[in-house]
Amino acid sequence: MRTWLYKADTQLSPYVYISPFFILFAVFGLFPLGYTAWVSLHDWSLLSDEHSFVGLGNYSELLADPYFWNALRNTLSILALSTIPQLILALILAHLVNRPLRAKTLWRLGMLLPNVTSVVAVVVIFSQLFGRDFGLINWLLESFGLGRIDWQAGVASSHVAIAAMITWRWTGYNALIFLAAMQAVPKELYESATLDGATAGQQLRKITIPSIRPTIIFVVIVSTIYGLQVFAEPQLFAGGGPNGIIGGPDRQFQTLTLYMYEHGFNRGFEFGYASATAWVMFGLIVLAAAVNYLITRRIRSSR
């Protein structure tokens, strides 16, 4: 009896322990994601009980909609404007703190502080800073003799403002990840480089970046996945409400997630159409990850 119990315990326990995760994850994570593909093939709306199969109809409608292409352009533009400066700044920042420093914890806490602040809070704060009439940034511009900018109104200016929010929130976090990888680089490399008279900038380019390449690729992929799904920043920058859903009165900063939200949850709950949007975004994300993966492989083989 005892050996039987022991056997049951050791053989069944692992499955008992992992099952809460797998059951909940399957029902509320994987199932919805997969079902999105099925819904996207139907004319499916919350308002009617009939869901007729339309094949790829939603997709062809989507690709024919200029607003979809507008949202795609905006998303890619905001992605580039936020990810590139963010990664460069994070690398430099990590390089700066990767040395014996006084008050080490203070600098690191400061770096993570923006990330603790919620996206909604960040947008509210930055919308004030970027305000047209009474914003601090326009006041600064004016006192330097430059003109005011109506940040929300323009395509480029609104993308810059939104990218600034993302950059502010994520640079320090990414710097910490880079810092962790940098600390694993052997100190002797830097010591001999210093003896050879290499400057800090040269050391960053010649030693640090090649050594932490896998981490850089990881951070690029994660930032890209985040950037392709930006939602709260544009929605609330336009002040929420009807302008928020379309990303500004001229759709000047409507992103793909906002476009999906507009069709899925506001315009008659077009679930089929919105699911097609989601699935296209999924394809884009996989594509972006694959491109990054290919780049990593190339770096590895060239070494």
Binding site: Y17, L33, L113, V120, F271
Partner: protein
Amino acid sequence: MTRRLVYLTLTGVLMLTAFPLYFSVVVASQDNSALSQVPPPVLPGANLIENIKRVFETVPFDQALLNSVIVSGVNTASVVLFSTLAGFAFAKLKFKGRTALLLTVVGTMMVPMQLGIIPLFMLVTKLEWHDTLLAVTVPALVNAFGVFFMTQYLSEALPTELLEAGRIDGAATHRLFWHVVLPVARPAAAVLGMLTFLNVWNDYLWPLVVLASPENQTVQVALSQLRAGYVQDYSLALTGTMLATLPLLLVFGLLGKQLIGGIMQGAVKG
């Protein structure tokens, strides 16, 4: 680069990260009309209490805070518990299909769950959870990152001899879990708990979609209502922001050091 220049740059960075938060306190403590002055105010004013009152009058902010505490608290506890359970099994127990299942966890870690939002909405509506806290709590009870994180930690931090000794003493697996695994897992559990609490507290899109009535909203949704409106009342919106961020900053001040350690550790292994 000289040391002085490094410290100077870092001080500059610190001011850049802290300034927007400081400025939100400035705006939150001013009367809204004071914001249109030239130059704009840079020091806190005396209107904070008045603004806090207005926040509570405009939206049911106390209810929203309570809702967020409930949702974040429940999810933190469940993510930590279920991740530790699964992490223990993956790290130290032998069973058929272990490698394949662990690969599934790792493979799904980066999958953007936000894209499944439409079927999730349909599912939650079918379960009649629409506009209830269940709708935001249940889908976030577990996540793949947590399982991966605890597996990594326990496979290194949990000595196999300790488990074997327990086995010889005749302890069943669940006893080992409570008396051996949980105490060892505590530091990682604290970090995972904090990360989870932050993420759930700050979540916005899903609560916005699924919670309709003001009394069911979480803090982030309530906050977005303060931002909306025909006349921009920044002192009102930023007072709400301050109130919603303050609890996190307090926790961050107390446990931030461990959080940084945890993020950096996860980065190297991940």
